[in-house]
C-alpha cells in the first residue's frame, strides 16, 4: 500500500504538472500595465508603493551593486485593494497579479506641455530614451556628488529626490526639481519623479495545477524515504 502511495504521488505529480503546463501554454493571457504612484483614476491604480530602495546609492568606477530585496505595491483593482509582491502572485479580479518591474517616472513640462515618462534608468548609470516632438532625448540619473578615492571616483546618487541628466542633439542639461532649464531651443521643467511599477495580471486556469503538480513532485522523494 505504502509502495503504491509513493508511486502514485510521483505519477500524479507528473501528470498534474503536465496537464497544468499544457493548459497554461494554451490559455494564458497576460496584461502588464505600468502604474504610477498616486495614479488611481482608472480601473487599476497604484495606491501605495513600499520598497527598500536606499535614499543614497554609491558606485565606484564602473562597478555597482544595486539590489532591492522587497517591493510591495498596494494596487486597487476595480475598487478593491490588493497587496501585491514579486512572489507569490496574488489572485485579483483581473487574474493572478505580481510585480514585474519598478523604476522612476519623470513628470516633465517640455516646451509647456506636460508629460509623464515611465523611465528605465535603474540601476543608476543606465540610460533610457524618449521621443517628443520628433526629437530623441536620452535620460539617465545624475550623481549628486562625486568623491575621488585614489584614481577612482565614487558617485553618490540621491534616490529620494533624484537628479536627471537629459541629452539631445549633442547638448546636455541636468534637471533639478522645480528649476527650469534650457536644452538648445527646448525648455524643460522637472516637476516630480514618483516611482512606477509594472504589474503583470495573468489569467491562467492551469497555474494552480502547475503549483499542485510541482508540490507533489517535491513531496515524492519525502514519501519515498518515509515509506521505504
Amino acid at each position: 500500500m505504502a509502495l503504491r502511495l509513493r508511486r502514485y504521488i510521483l505519477y500524479a505529480g507528473l501528470l498534474i504538472t503536465a496537464l497544468g503546463a499544457l493548459l497554461s501554454l494554451t490559455t494564458r493571457r497576460t496584461d502588464i500595465p505600468a502604474l504610477i504612484e498616486g495614479d488611481t483614476g482608472g480601473d487599476i491604480g497604484l495606491l501605495k508603493l513600499a520598497t527598500d530602495m536606499p535614499g543614497e546609492y554609491m558606485t565606484f568606477g564602473d562597478s555597482g551593486d544595486f539590489k532591492l530585496k522587497s517591493v510591495r505595491a498596494e494596487v486597487q483593482v476595480e475598487g478593491k485593494p490588493y497587496a501585491i509582491r514579486m512572489f507569490p502572485p496574488k489572485r485579483t479580479k483581473r487574474g493572478w497579479a505580481r510585480i514585474e518591474d519598478i523604476g522612476f517616472s519623470l513628470r516633465l513640462k517640455l516646451n509647456g506641455s506636460a508629460e509623464t515618462l515611465a523611465l528605465k534608468v535603474l540601476p543608476p548609470g543606465r540610460e533610457d530614451k524618449f521621443i517628443s516632438g520628433g526629437k530623441e532625448f536620452s535620460v539617465s540619473l545624475e550623481p549628486e556628488k562625486e568623491i575621488p578615492k585614489g584614481s577612482i571616483k565614487g558617485k553618490v546618487y540621491n534616490l529620494r529626490l533624484p537628479l536627471f541628466k537629459v541629452k539631445a542633439d549633442g547638448k546636455e542639461a541636468v534637471l533639478k526639481k522645480g528649476e527650469p532649464v534650457s536644452l538648445g531651443k527646448d525648455k524643460l521643467l522637472y516637476e516630480g519623479s514618483p516611482l512606477w511599477v509594472r504589474v503583470a495580471f495573468v489569467k491562467d486556469p492551469g497555474l494552480l495545477l502547475v503549483y499542485l503538480g510541482i508540490g507533489l513532485l517535491a513531496l515524492s522523494p519525502v514519501a519515498f524515504l518515509r515509506f521505504k
Binding site: K67, F87, W96, S151, I152
Partner: protein, 449 residues
C-alpha cells in the same frame, strides 16, 4: 603536442580500442562488429577527404560532428550501466548494439584522422612528416595486432566494463589537431548548462516566478543556482564518473560462489581465491578508466577557471615608505599561458626586500570601494600566497575561498592586513609596519624566501 604526435596517438588509440572489442567478441558477434566498424571507418575516412572540408570546417559542421560523436559514445556509457549481459549474444537488438559500437569506434576517429592528415600533409606541405607518421602508425598497428593476439580481453573485461571503458577512452582521450577543440567535458558541461537554463527559464515563466535584474528574491536565487556552473559541472561529473563507478561496484560486489559442495577446506580456499582474483582483474580496467575520467574532468575544470595569480611588481622603499601605484603595474603571469584576467576589481601583487627576504604584498579594492593592502600570507597556513578566482581569493595552500569583502580583517585564513594610507594615486605602507607584520607571520613558518 605536435600535430603528428596527436595524429599517431589518435590512430593507435582507435586501433587499440577496435582490437580490444574484436578480441572480446567471438563468432557471429565478431563478424558483425568488424564489418560495421570497417565500413564506418572507410566512410569516415572518405568524409574526411571530401574537398568540401578542405577549406576548414564551418561552425555548423563542427557542431553537428561534435554532437554526433558525443551522442554515439555517450550511448555506450548508458548501455554499459543499463545491462551487463543483455547487449551481447545473438538477436537483432544485440547485433544492432555491436554495429553501433563499431560505428562509434571508427566513424568519427577515422574522419578526424584523414582530415587532419590531409591538412598537415597536403595543405601544410609536411610530406616527410606524413610518410614517417604513416610508417609509425602502420608499425604501431602491427605491434598492437601481435600483442592483442596473445592477450585475452575476455579475461579482464565484463561486457558492461568493456562498453564503459571503450566509450570513456573514445570520448575523453585527445583527438588529432584540428579537432583538438572537441573536448567532451567542456562540451557536455556547456550542453547541460544550456539545457538547464532552458528548463529553468521555462519553469520560471510557467510558475510566474520573479526574474529581475536588481530585485532579488529567494526564488530567483534558487533559479540562478540551478542555472549556475556548479550544477552543470556536478551533472557533468556524474555523467562521466557514474557509469564506470556503477560498473566497477557491480563487478566488485558480485556474490561469492557457494563453496559448500567442496568438502576439503583447501579446495574451498582455492575456489574463493580464484574468484577474488577474477573479480579484481575484471574490476581493474574499469577502476583505471574511473581514475582517468576523474583526471580528465579535473584538468578540464582547472583549465576552464584558472586562478589568476599575477607576478609581483618589485617596489623600492623611499624614506621608510613603500608607495604602491593604484593604477596597476601588475605583470602578466609568467607561466607560459595567459589565464583570463578576472573582471574588476582584480588582484595586484607587489614585492619588497626586507632584511634579505622577499615580502609579497597583495593589494585589492574591496566591493565596497575600500582599497586594502595585506601580506600575501595568512596566520595559519605556510606562506604560499593567494590567487584570484572570480569574486574570491583562494589560499594556494589550503584552497579556502576568501570573500573579497572580508579583506582587511585579521584572523583565520584571511591574508594578514597591513596598515596603509591613501595618498593621491598611491597607497602608502610604512616599511616598519611591513617588517613587524612579516616578523609576526614568520613566527609560525620561518622567514620568507
Amino acid at each position: 603536442m605536435t600535430p603528428f604526435f596527436l595524429l599517431i596517438f589518435s590512430a593507435l588509440k582507435t586501433a587499440a580500442l577496435f582490437l580490444t572489442a574484436y578480441g572480446f567478441l567471438s563468432g557471429g558477434q565478431r563478424r558483425a562488429f568488424a564489418f560495421t566498424a570497417l565500413a564506418a571507418g572507410v566512410l569516415g575516412a572518405g568524409i574526411g577527404l571530401l574537398p568540401d572540408l578542405s577549406g576548414g570546417l564551418s561552425d555548423a559542421q563542427r557542431d553537428s560532428l561534435q554532437k554526433a560523436f558525443f551522442a554515439f559514445s555517450s550511448l555506450f556509457l548508458a548501455l554499459g550501466i543499463i545491462s551487463p549481459s543483455k547487449w551481447f549474444g545473438n538477436g537483432i537488438l544485440r547485433r544492432g548494439t555491436l554495429c553501433l559500437l563499431g560505428v562509434s569506434l571508427t566513424l568519427f576517429p577515422l574522419m578526424s584522422l584523414t582530415y587532419s592528415f590531409k591538412g598537415a600533409v597536403v595543405f601544410g606541405g609536411a610530406y616527410l612528416g606524413g610518410v614517417a607518421a604513416l610508417f609509425l602508425i602502420a608499425g604501431g598497428v602491427f605491434a598492437l595486432w601481435q600483442a592483442f593476439k596473445r592477450l585475452n580481453p575476455g579475461r579482464v573485461f565484463t561486457p558492461d566494463g568493456l562498453l564503459v571503458s571503450l566509450a570513456s577512452l573514445n570520448l575523453l582521450l585527445p583527438l588529432p589537431e584540428g579537432f583538438s577543440h572537441l573536448r567532451f567535458v567542456t562540451t557536455a558541461e556547456g550542453a547541460i548548462a544550456r539545457y538547464l537554463a532552458e528548463v529553468v527559464d521555462s519553469a520560471v515563466a510557467l510558475m510566474l516566478l520573479p526574474e529581475h535584474e536588481f530585485i532579488i528574491t529567494p526564488a530567483q536565487k534558487v533559479a540562478g543556482f540551478l542555472k549556475g556552473p556548479e550544477v552543470s559541472l556536478t551533472l557533468t561529473a556524474l555523467l562521466i564518473l557514474l557509469p564506470p563507478l556503477i560498473v566497477a561496484m557491480r563487478a566488485m560486489l558480485k556474490p561469492e560462489p557457494d563453496t559448500a559442495p567442496q568438502g576439503v577446506a583447501a579446495q574451498k580456499r582455492k575456489k574463493l581465491s580464484a574468484f577474488r582474483a577474477d573479480v579484481l582483474l575484471r574490476a581493474a580496467p574499469v577502476i583505471a578508466v574511473l581514475v582517468l575520467n576523474y583526471a580528465v574532468l579535473h584538468t578540464a575544470n582547472l583549465s576552464a577557471s584558472p586562478v589568476y595569480d599575477p607576478e609581483p611588481v618589485p617596489l623600492i622603499s623611499e624614506g621608510g615608505e613603500l608607495k604602491i601605484p593604484l593604477d596597476g603595474g601588475a605583470r602578466p603571469p609568467a607561466r607560459g599561458y595567459e589565464p583570463p584576467r578576472p573582471a574588476l576589481p582584480s588582484l595586484k601583487k607587489f614585492s619588497a626586500g626586507i632584511g634579505g627576504s622577499k615580502v609579497v604584498i597583495l593589494v585589492m579594492m574591496r566591493p565596497d570601494g575600500e582599497v586594502v593592502a595585506c601580506l600575501d600570507a595568512c596566520e595559519i597556513c605556510p606562506p604560499e600566497g593567494y590567487g584570484q578566482k572570480g569574486n574570491v581569493l583562494i589560499c594556494k595552500y589550503c584552497n579556502t575561498p576568501i570573500p573579497l569583502i572580508t579583506l582587511g580583517r585579521p584572523g583565520g585564513c584571511n591574508p594578514i592586513p597591513l596598515k596603509s594610507e591613501l595618498r593621491g594615486d598611491y597607497l602608502v605602507i610604512k616599511t616598519d609596519e611591513l617588517i613587524s607584520a612579516s616578523k609576526e607571520a614568520g613566527k609560525n613558518f620561518g622567514q620568507w624566501h
